[in-house]
Amino acid sequence: MTSIRNGRETFCGFLGALPMMISVEELTDLIVATDPASGARLPVRLDTVIAQLTAGGQDRAARLARRLPVRDGVLVAEEIDALQIRVHCELQRLGEELQLPRRVAEWLLRWRAARPGEPLRVVDVGCGLGHVVRWLAAYDALGPGVDLVGVDLNRALVGRAAELAAAEGLDCRFIAGDALAPGVAGDDGMTTVVISSGLLHHLTASALPEFFAAQRRLRVAAFAHWDIDPGPWTTAGAWIFHRARMREPVSRHDGVLSARRAHPASVLLAAARAGAPDYRPACTDGPRWWPRLSEVLRPVTGTAP
């Protein structure tokens, strides 16, 4: 459910029984800017970030932003890259606890069981440090003949992902760019399954149909995107886990906001049907007020006709 406030899109979320308007901005989304055409890093002015956060009523986030390293009013790119890598390392730890790679592997193995022997490329969109791709490679979870590719717009994260894969001798690769642009992650859509984890809540509800439409244009064999099943229990759990596990204040802030911004299954299904009408979409949420501990992360999936 979305609405417009202060000229920007906001989400209607719930914390307990109280409806709240949630601004879409996570700090990690605001402090890095990339030129979509060239992929080059763009300078980000701190006062612009703070103005955006303050206008959205995110005073705590604005306070955190004021502590970020600045040179001549511009966020220091190297320091921001280092921060992003630290945040994603912490996220990886949380992903381990949530058993995220195993959830992905379980779905991919089930999907592949119906197509034995066929070549397969798994493309992780918005892979960050490539935790899922590197885990699949490290444990050879999908068997032989699988091309594992991680793609992210953030060159620093992709660069570190490639270094980590090399350090552990893993058979996977990483690309900086738009994974859903033609030719970036490969040309043969029919052998490609596009996955992501924790990406969908970074997109507004109005941007979701185009996200699925881009995968349809690539004629991918299937997509499966894991994200948080929203609800009051998830939000409370996210708060507790981020207080207990995360060290970076930015991680704590963005982690809880992620849970509050996550899209319900109805929104994801509607977007998948609008963007990829001939794919068979699936996504389920449980009862809102009953905790579904084992399904904190659940996928929206679609299979080519």
Partner: protein, 186 residues
């Protein structure tokens, strides 16, 4: 004075386990590597050593106090028993969850994390302070309470101390062990 030795022994065992786990938590989510079992073992040992370093002086002071003033032994026992009323079930629950984590399949392993290990890490400082409150309510005197408070503070300081040590160590490494580089070619 020999009666009740199980109280300090149990407290020391719990403090050692807590220190080891604090070391592990401090190490988690640092490197981004997939295989980190060896580093996990090192982190537990580092936590244990740090706990010994921070809690050692408190233990020496308590021992010295008991040797100089033998009647204080009973005061320490009263405080220790009161604290264990809370710490023992808390620690036993965490250990049971860890056993479940190791033994069970990954779906149930996740439940051990979601229901016990995560929330109990969050609750740990509050439980530590609540143990002090129980000791005070049990009638422990001010010197004993001061020693108990110092021990609790030392135990809670293990993780922040290790965090700071890691930050300082990372700052000393020039260039970093795994520098940020360019993406692999298409």
């Amino acid at each position: 004075m020999t009666a009740g030795w199980w109280v300090p022994v149990t407290l020391v065992v719990l403090a050692a386990l807590d220190g080891a786990f604090a070391g592990f938590r401090s190490s988690c989510g640092r490197t981004g590597l997939i295989r980190h079992r060896r580093e996990d073992v090192r982190a537990h040992l580092r936590g244990l050593a740090t706990a010994a370093l921070l809690l050692g002086p408190v233990a020496v002071l308590v021992l010295a106090d008991v040797l100089v003033h033998p009647p204080h032994w009973d005061d320490y026992l009263v405080a220790g028993r009161a604290m264990l009323l809370l710490y023992l079930p808390f620690g036993a629950t965490v250990l049971a969850a860890l056993v479940a984590y190791v033994v069970l399949g990954w779906r149930r392993r996740f439940l051990a994390t979601a229901l016990i290990l995560g929330p109990f890490t969050f609750a740990r400082p509050f439980v530590a302070v609540a143990g002090l409150v129980l000791a005070a309510r049990a009638g422990a005197g001010y010197p004993v309470l001061a020693a108990a408070a110092a021990a609790v503070l030392a135990a809670l300081a293990v993780e922040p101390v290790l965090d700071r040590w890691r930050v300082a160590a990372a700052a000393r490494r020039q260039p970093p062990a795994l520098p940020t580089g360019t993406a692999s070619p298409r």
